[in-house]
Point group: C2
Chain length 239, copies 2
């Protein structure tokens, strides 16, 4: 009987901590695909959120988003447009006048592909949606170390945003940000994805091209290095 | 000579702390008008940012924004649309199925006009724009106590968002959130506005109507009470 009560208690606690619905940010890239696969093992239902911000490869990313949502059988889907980031500019991803640099993974500088403060916009949208739908958590596939060095991919940023959520939503709203792959190496992310049968063949990472991946931008370079480190072949095509 | 050096040092510090450009969030209401008047006394140049989120009175608010920007002689203007908040819903301001309640200023509950986590979206946009333009501060006319009780109008929220900005922008970016009227009573805001010759006649506050203010929604009720407390007549017309 004691064991049985504990088990009920545990269920209730889990229910309180993370309501069975979670919001998952899905760009359509490899990291968000693996994050979604992890989120699915931890929740009863997922809502998939894609944010378009006027980036070069948006049409291809949206196709990847839809393919992933279909694969995971997701009914709750939201595509939000924040195209004002294109008006603001300041990034090679949103401003056609700034060239997407060829990758230099050894550089310590923040690359020109940095979209100023972008992940705050993504989390703000996810939080509003979570508050209205009653979701208990938000999954985001940020990667801190083994990535491009964007400031809004570091754990400190997510810790600060968590406090912003706690302070800026209703008293009875409880939403937890989850960053399950933030400390993984890119090759580990691939390995975790394979363990969970995440459909990496449906994802899109290239910053430049929408048909065949360029293989030379930061994002392609990180992806290719990760597959090489994992000793695996990338299922998508490269130029 | 000592005095002269101190003065140079002081100028340099001020220059570091707040570059001469500031971003000011301008909804078109009374609070943002007075905040802009304050911001003008503290900065060489202002950029005005208006965010449209699918609220009922958006067209009228945009007219107020333009009128205010013209009045203050603002060249840098950005109107950003986050109409996905309408898709997300959950507020009487963005969801036509939820009625805008008549004001009950004595109630302790969060009113139905609360737009979930809205001010985070506004600050995220302002921060991205500030980072790209090199602005040193963001002014927002949030009012904590003498207002509607929205969680994202409280000082704790702005303190948390400040840390999010510090963590999520480039290391050499320094942007300070300023909330100059957050602890003022609404009647004090009007008095401060009059001292600064803020054009309150150009502002719009009503949540419901776009031609003649309804006088009955939360926002009208707060405004009317504030003018009454200040012993002044509101320059706009009411039904």
């Amino acid at each position: 009987m004691g064991g049985s009560n504990e088990s009920i208690e545990q269920t209730r606690k889990d229910g309180d901590r993370s309501s069975s619905l979670a919001i998952c940010l899905v760009s359509g890239g490899m990291d968000s695909c693996v994050t979604a696969a992890i989120a699915r093992t931890e929740n009863d239902e997922l809502g998939f959120l894609h944010v378009s911000y006027g980036q070069r490869t948006e049409a291809r990313e949206q196709r990847a988003f839809s393919d992933l949502a279909d694969h995971f059988g997701i009914r709750k889907r939201l595509v939000a447009s924040i195209e004002y980031l294109k008006l603001i500019g300041g990034s090679s991803l949103t401003d056609q006048r700034i060239k997407v640099a060829e990758a230099n993974l050894a550089a310590r500088e923040i690359p020109t592909s940095y979209v100023p403060f972008r992940n705050s916009h993504l989390l703000a949208i996810a939080t509003s949606w979570a508050e209205v739908t009653g979701a208990g958590s938000i999954y985001i596939g940020a990667v801190a170390e083994d990535s491009s060095g964007y400031p809004d991919c570091r754990p400190e940023f997510y810790e600060a945003f968590q406090k912003t959520i706690d302070a800026g939503t209703k008293p009875d709203t409880h939403i937890e940000i989850r960053t399950p792959i933030i400390n993984m190496r890119k090759s580990e992310i691939i390995e975790r994805g394979l363990e969970l049968a995440a459909p990496l063949e449906l994802t899109w990472s290239c910053y430049v091209s929408e048909d065949v991946a360029c293989g030379r931008c930061d994002s392609c370079a990180l992806r290719l290095r990760a597959f090489a480190d994992a000793g695996l072949a990338d299922p998508i095509r490269y130029a």
